[in-house]
């Protein structure tokens, strides 16, 4: 009998927080679309997130809350950023094309992407980033609190 409307902890459900363990140099800047190489996790309850492929595979059908962040460094006059949650069914993109994006070798810009995504068992989810308008000099800023992908099954 379904009676409560809160969180039931009896069985584990997919939930993870993935991040890049270190900065990754020169991943984009010339429009290259890069899958964010988030190679470490703080938690990965059902091990459904792969630190080898940087991809989450849904083990059940439902809605998943995704909260993610991208930090890019060494922006030098670049003019666009697309930061996308990619699922099998859809792309959820945030976009900025400030001109110029930044003008210094030490400049860092952060972007957030949050969505309640629908997935079918077996569907995949990962993050991509594409920065354009300049050379392929833009770095992915790593460590736990800069670029990350967090996700939990909601129901």
């Amino acid at each position: 009998m379904a009676t409560n409307n809160a969180v039931n902890f009896k069985k584990p459900f997919p939930s993870f927080y993935a991040y890049a363990s270190a900065d990754v140099a020169n991943v984009t800047g010339d429009g290259t679309v890069v899958t964010l190489p988030l190679n470490s996790t703080l938690h990965n309850v059902t091990t459904s997130y792969s630190t080898a492929t940087y991809t989450f595979t849904a083990d059940r059908t439902g809605k998943f809350l995704v909260a993610s962040q991208l930090f890019l460094g060494e922006l030098v006059g670049h003019s666009s950023v697309d930061f996308t949650i990619v699922t099998t069914a859809r792309n959820y993109a945030v976009t900025a094309n400030l001109t110029p994006m930044a003008s210094g070798a030490t400049t860092v810009c952060g972007f957030q992407n949050i969505a309640l995504v629908d997935m079918t068992a077996g569907d995949t989810l990962y993050l991509t980033a594409a920065c354009g308008g300049g050379g392929k000099t833009v770095d992915l800023i790593g460590l736990k609190y800069y670029s990350y992908l967090s996700c939990s099954y909601i129901g």
């Binding site: 009998m1 379904a2 009676t3 409560n4 409307n5 809160a6 969180v7 039931n8 902890f9 009896k10 069985k11 584990p12 459900f13 439902g62 809605k63 809350l65 909260a67 003019s79 666009s80 069914a89 859809r90 792309n91 959820y92 993109a93 945030v94 976009t95 900025a96 094309n97 400030l98 001109t99 972007f111 957030q112 992407n113 949050i114 969505a115 309640l116 629908d118 939990s152 099954y153 909601i154 129901g155």
Partner: protein
């Protein structure tokens, strides 16, 4: 017997997005509330697809988030979009006013919050862009690539 292992009964959740282009709706400080015209899912059919308002179906704490992609920006000086319960509360929302918001067209604004809502209240995403001409659009996309969306779920 409740058998699922996440936030369960009732599963109140929704995802609305803008499918049709708005045309130029702000840029000169005109306030424009986004009239989401499609849903991917809406478990209680609470989204008004004429106005874009989400009618809260049950009192409780909700997680809400939106992303709004602005187009047609041309040296505007501020952009502010936020979630609002008319006459009750406006959440601060996403605000940017660095002098010149954009010189090349596109900018996404995102915000999220966990909020107490009362059944019967209506939540909208509203705001404006200022400092320039009324040239700013709310960008739309289909179900495979939504560009401006508003979604959430009841926590408890």
């Amino acid at each position: 017997m409740a058998t699922n292992n996440a936030i369960n009964n009732p599963k109140i959740m929704f995802f609305a997005y803008l499918n049709a282009s708005t045309g130029a709706v702000t840029g000169d400080a005109t306030v424009y509330s986004i009239a989401y015209d499609r849903v991917l899912y809406d478990s209680t059919a609470s989204m008004n697809l004429a106005t874009g308002a989400y009618l809260v179906p049950k009192t409780g704490k909700y997680f809400l988030t939106f992303t709004t992609l602005l187009g047609g920006l041309a040296a505007h000086t501020s952009a502010n979009y936020y979630m609002s319960v008319a006459g009750v509360l406006d959440w601060n929302g996403a605000l940017i006013n660095p002098g010149v918001v954009d010189q090349a067209g596109l900018l996404s604004l995102t915000d999220a919050a966990i909020v107490n809502l009362t059944a019967g209240q209506s939540v909208i995403v509203t705001g404006n862009v200022a400092g320039g001409a009324k040239s700013v659009t709310i960008q739309s996309g289909g179900a495979a690539s939504p560009q401006s969306w508003f979604c959430g779920f009841l926590i408890d």
